[in-house]
Every structure is written in C-alpha cells, then in structure tokens.
C-alpha cells in the first residue's frame, strides 16, 4: 500500500495521500506531510463521499469516478473504488491533498491507477 501511495505523493504539489475506508471513514494507509490531520480528512471525506453518492443517485448521473474540491490554499482530490459506489460495499477512497497549483490531470491519473491496484 505504501508503494501505491508513493505513486501519488511523488507528483509535485501533492502534500499527502491516503487510502480511506469508505464506510467507516477510517484511515487504512497514509503518507502525509506534517500538519495534515489524516483522521479528520478521512472521516470528513468519507462522509462527503456518502452524501455525494446519494446526490448522484438522486440526480440519475450514475456513480462518481473522481471529485476535486478546490480551495484557496489547496485541493482535495478523491477517487472512489468500484465498491464505494454501493452503500455498505466496503469500498476504499483514494484521497490526495494537494497545493492549489498542482497538476490535476496527473494526480487524477495516479489516483485512478492506485484505485485499480488496491481493489
């Protein structure tokens, strides 16, 4: 798992990466720079993922494959694995915390690659 997270954290501008249990909001594995509260990010990202899943179901758009939240001082990028699309499916969220000017496309590619390897 550490090797999988290396794929993400080696991208310039990424401040940390985590694998998070989608149902529980608990950290499964993490590589974070100092100052990032991994437990809090994991719990809140999983909560958000659950609500987004329900919103997308209600909107009839199908399941989410990638989301990107841009803030003033950074960004949160998340790829849910296939099982995360089902409530109680025991899926994993692949999460990256990045600086605002990170190459989003490259991080997305690595997140998708990691999501494939951890399933």
């Amino acid at each position: 798992m550490s090797a999988a997270l290396d794929l993400i954290t080696r991208v310039r501008g990424v401040r940390g990466a985590m694998l998070v249990s989608a149902d529980d909001g608990i950290v499964v594995a993490e590589q974070l720079m100092e100052g990032i509260k991994g437990g809090a990010v994991a719990a809140l990202a999983a909560s958000l993922a659950g609500r987004l899943r329900r919103a997308m179901e209600a909107a009839g758009t199908g399941t989410s494959v990638f989301w990107h939240l841009q803030a003033e001082q950074g960004a949160l990028l998340v790829v849910p694995d296939g099982n995360s699309s089902v409530a109680g499916g025991g899926g994993i969220l692949v999460v990256a915390v990045a600086e605002p000017d990170v190459n989003i496309g490259l991080v997305r590619l690595e997140l998708l690659r990691v999501a494939e390897t951890v399933v």
Binding site: S21, D23, D24, I26, A43
Partner: protein
C-alpha cells in the same frame, strides 16, 4: 440547542449539543462508570435511558476487568457495528472523575470515523468545562431513588 438534548449537570450541555450536531449521532449518553447519567440526547423514554446507562456501565466495568486481567490499561474505546447502526462507547478522565460516552449512530448518516473525530473534541470540551476539585457527594441508599427520579425528571423536562 436541540430540544432532545438535556443535562442533569449543565456544564455538559454545550459540548454535548455540539457533538450531536457535528457527528450526526442518533442517541448519546454521558454517564459515570457507575451508571449515573449526566446528560442525554435523543432518548424519548426514561426506561430507555436507565437501560442504556446500566448496560453501558456494565460494559465499562467488564472491559476494565478484562483489561486488568490482561495487565493492560483500561480500553479507551469500544465500537460495535451492525447492519444499520453503530455503537461507540469510550471513557476519559476529567475533574468530575472518569466519564463515559455512549453514542449510537445510523450508518446512513454518520460513520465510525466521524464519531471518533468529534468524540475527541467532546472529551476535550467536557474536560475543560468540568467543575474543578469538587468533593464527590456520598450517595446514601435512602437518597438513591429520589436522586434517580430527580435526574430522570430533569433529563425529560418534567
């Protein structure tokens, strides 16, 4: 303030209200390891509070004894997850003595991670708010029933 959140000891009310709001839990009890309830949220019947408090106190006592037999410090928290609901029970030390928090949450609305995250804040807030250096009041058998009735009346706004 949520109308369903009530406290016997008022210093518990604000931290508990914040915890209920942030962690989206369904039921919460703040109690002593002997089962005395300091505050509750979400319960509608006194008998449920009494049952939950007694069972939570029993779990705290049995896990503490299990830890003692394993020569370990007492367990900090216990989590149980069913198909629809999760239970979280944890203890912490405060100036009011050791306190236990029992939280029940719906898996559709909250998660263990969220409950753990905001429990840490709740424990810190309760520690900060707890009255300093109070001498524990001796509970006499003759007073027990009256005190229990008073507490339940307070918890259910009677």
């Amino acid at each position: 303030m949520s109308p369903q959140t009530r406290a016997v000891e008022n210093w518990t009310l604000q931290p508990l209200t914040a915890f209920v709001r942030e962690a989206s839990v369904r039921l919460v009890l703040v109690l002593t390891p002997s089962g005395q309830v300091l505050a509750q949220s979400g319960f509608s019947r006194a008998v449920d509070v009494m049952s939950a408090a007694a069972l939570a106190a029993a779990i705290v006592a049995s896990t503490a004894e299990l830890a003692r037999q394993l020569q370990q410090p007492p367990f900090a928290a216990l989590s149980h997850q069913g198909p629809k609901h999760g239970f979280f029970l944890a203890t912490f030390a405060s100036d009011r003595g050791t306190l236990a928090v029992l939280a029940v949450y719906d898996l559709d609305v909250s998660s263990l991670g969220l409950v753990q995250l905001f429990y840490e804040q709740l424990a810190a807030d309760l520690k900060a708010a707890s009255p300093k250096s109070t001498v524990p009041k001796q509970v006499l058998a003759a007073d027990f029933e009256r005190e229990l009735t008073d507490s339940l009346n307070t918890l259910f706004g009677r």
